[in-house]
């Protein structure tokens, strides 16, 4: 079996060309990017959720999934990690876990019996702090730039971080200096994630927790979940660091007792604001039509 062809680095700002100096920045033609952009989407494994996302999660972009605990964030990440090798992206996943311990048992349960080797393509790394994450990302960058050629090794084109909020729980008080330092780290982490996403055409997913909000924020920053007004954690600064924000909400049904869940597009450069109802089953997260329950 032939080893997979090395994926060439995406044309960076210093590629040589006849009319451009080697060190000059070089513009790209969006028309030439159109076909690859449409193809490079990671499906969620459900046509309804894929329709919500116009095909799936985009590459070269950072998507945030925010929600309360047990809203389905980790489940979706595990699902994506298992879908990646069989998808058109044909990739392995790097799962950066700060919400320890890593849910290995759940991952095993999700893996379909037909493809037991899917777990071979999920690489898990524990992350303990923001600086830990930054050094991990640097190493990942180096690793992605120098891929090893082996018949069973798929290129890593999916990066999952679960969660960004837990990285910032400790180590920071509310003093202005610390808040500033924290914000600086948001932008540093985001810039690194986005660079990785762009240069290696990766799909990057970051999960985030929610906090209660007292006064009503306008627009897209808050939602109702479990009877409270909540907003994704880490505030406006972190909101400026992601390209797409998906909100997972949960309401107790009017008929009492039954839980209804919605995946809502809070903002995205390529999607309208709309929502889709979904359920969490043993074999994964799936969208449901509003009529069927």
């Amino acid at each position: 079996m032939r080893p997979p062809a090395a994926k060439p680095l995406v044309a960076t700002t210093t590629s040589s060309s006849s009319s451009y100096n080697q060190h000059e920045p070089r513009p790209e033609n969006p028309l030439l990017l159109l076909a690859s952009s449409r193809a490079a989407k990671l499906s969620l494994g459900c046509p309804l959720l894929d329709r919500l996302l116009s095909g799936g999660l985009p590459a070269a972009s950072v998507t945030e999934i925010a929600g309360e605990s047990a809203s389905g964030k980790t489940q979706i990440c595990l699902q994506l990690a298992l879908l990646a090798p069989l998808s058109p992206l044909s990739s392995s996943s790097l799962f950066l876990c700060s919400d320890l311990p890593f849910p290995l048992r759940r991952l095993r349960l999700l893996a379909p019996k037909s493809h037991p080797d899917l777990l071979d393509h999920v690489f898990v790394a524990a992350v303990h702090s923001p600086s830990d994450l930054l050094s991990l990302l640097s190493r990942a960058q180096h690793h992605l730039s120098h891929p090893t050629h082996s018949p069973h090794r798929l290129p890593t084109r999916v990066i999952l971080l679960d969660s960004i909020a837990s990285l910032f729980r400790a180590d920071f008080d509310a003093s202005p200096a610390d808040l500033k330092r924290r914000t600086g780290l948001f932008f540093k982490i985001s810039a690194k994630l986005k660079e990785l996403a762009y240069r290696h055409k990766c799909v990057v997913v970051v999960t985030n927790q929610v906090v209660d909000v007292v006064e009503g924020n306008t627009g897209n920053t808050m939602a109702w979940s479990s009877g409270r007004q909540v907003s994704p954690a880490l505030g406006l600064s972190w909101a400026n660091c992601v390209n797409t924000r998906l909100f997972l909400t949960r309401e107790v049904g009017s008929d009492g007792g039954s839980t209804r869940r919605h995946m809502k597009v809070a903002f995205a450069p390529h999607l309208p604001e709309r929502a889709c109802e979904f359920v969490i089953r043993r074999d994964g997260v799936f969208g449901v039509e509003p009529a069927q329950r």
């Binding site: 700002t13 000059e24 780290l185 762009y198 400026n240 509003p290």
Partner: protein
């Protein structure tokens, strides 16, 4: 009094007329390169504006985004900054036959929000509106139909993706040469201008100097090449006067060198734009909408509800 004014106008007109004989390049003032106010006014009126897609928004901007000026557009995530940026990159390309500038766009993407499929969708929306507005025109013009393809609009955008502040400085420095070689560019959009500068910098004074330098350079480029420069910016919360206020990121260090400033914000469930700074227009605000076709006028006073699929 009226006679005196008429006399002055007559003198200015005659002076202008006389210069036409000498040749358009001839400076009309005592100093070389100086222009009299009359010339500047006529030039200003000839300058076209780039439509934002929303006639209400064009209204508060005095026709649209002005060439030869730097416009800063700020707002919270999701309010539509990138949408507006892409809309302008498409609208600048509207052919002159249809009331546009027929120019090209430079789009400098620092955040990765430039989604090509959305650009395609907005191009389609723009074309469909043109066909609706000019139903017979494109039949007459032989080349008209060929020009109005979304693929052409996509190819008319020079797209730079930069991943660090050093790359951002390099691209802006390179623009002078690039614009000299591509004279059909009529708009430069940077989305967003402060993202890479919000990391922790050891030397904040250096950061301020770099940003000021960049903004001055961009101002000079806009005047030299007669194009619009649009800088999209993020907002942050600042603790002033006892409460948290939304302000433009890094505003203190550089924002004062923009000619115009437009703030996009949410009013309930509706998107609004507020003209905060302009040399000639009053402050004003108007609602606008982001539709599948792009940026348009707000539809109805009713708030936009989230569609459940």
């Amino acid at each position: 009094m009226k006679n005196e004014i008429q006399e002055s106008v007559g003198i200015l007109k005659a002076d202008k007329g006389a210069n036409k004989f000498k040749g358009a390049e001839e400076p009309s003032g005592v100093l070389k390169g100086a222009q009299n106010a009359w010339d500047m006014l006529s030039e200003e009126q000839l300058q076209k504006h780039i439509s934002t897609g929303s006639s209400d928004l064009n209204g508060i901007l005095g026709g649209g985004i002005h060439c030869k000026e730097v416009t800063e557009i700020g707002g919270v995530p999701g309010v539509g900054k990138t949408q507006l940026g892409i809309q302008l990159a498409i609208n600048v390309q509207i052919p002159m036959d249809y009331g546009g500038l027929g120019g090209k766009a430079v789009y400098i993407d620092t955040e990765g929000s430039f989604m090509v499929e959305r650009v395609y969708q907005i191009a389609e929306g723009c074309i469909s509106d043109i066909m609706e507005y000019f139903p017979y025109h494109h039949d007459k013009s032989s080349s008209g139909q060929g020009n109005l393809q979304p693929e052409r609009f996509l190819a008319g955008i020079y797209y730079f993706r930069i991943c660090s502040y050093t790359e951002q400085i390099a691209v802006i420095n390179y623009l002078e040469k690039f614009l000299g070689e591509h004279k059909d560019v009529r708009i430069v959009i940077i989305d967003s201008v402060t993202f890479h500068f919000r990391q922790d910098f050891d030397d904040l004074a250096l950061r301020t100097r770099v940003l000021s330098g960049l903004s001055l350079k961009l101002m000079k480029l806009s005047k030299t090449y007669n194009l619009a420069v649009v800088l999209l910016n993020q907002v942050t919360t600042k603790f002033t006067e006892g409460s948290f206020q939304l302000t433009l990121a890094l505003g203190d260090s550089w924002s004062h060198s923009c000619t115009n400033r437009l703030i996009l914000y949410w009013k309930g469930n509706e998107r609004c734009a507020y003209l905060d700074k302009s040399p000639s227009l009053p402050v004003a605000s108007t609602p606008y909408a982001v539709t599948s076709k792009g940026v348009r006028d707000a539809a109805t006073p009713n708030c936009k509800r989230v569609r459940i699929m």
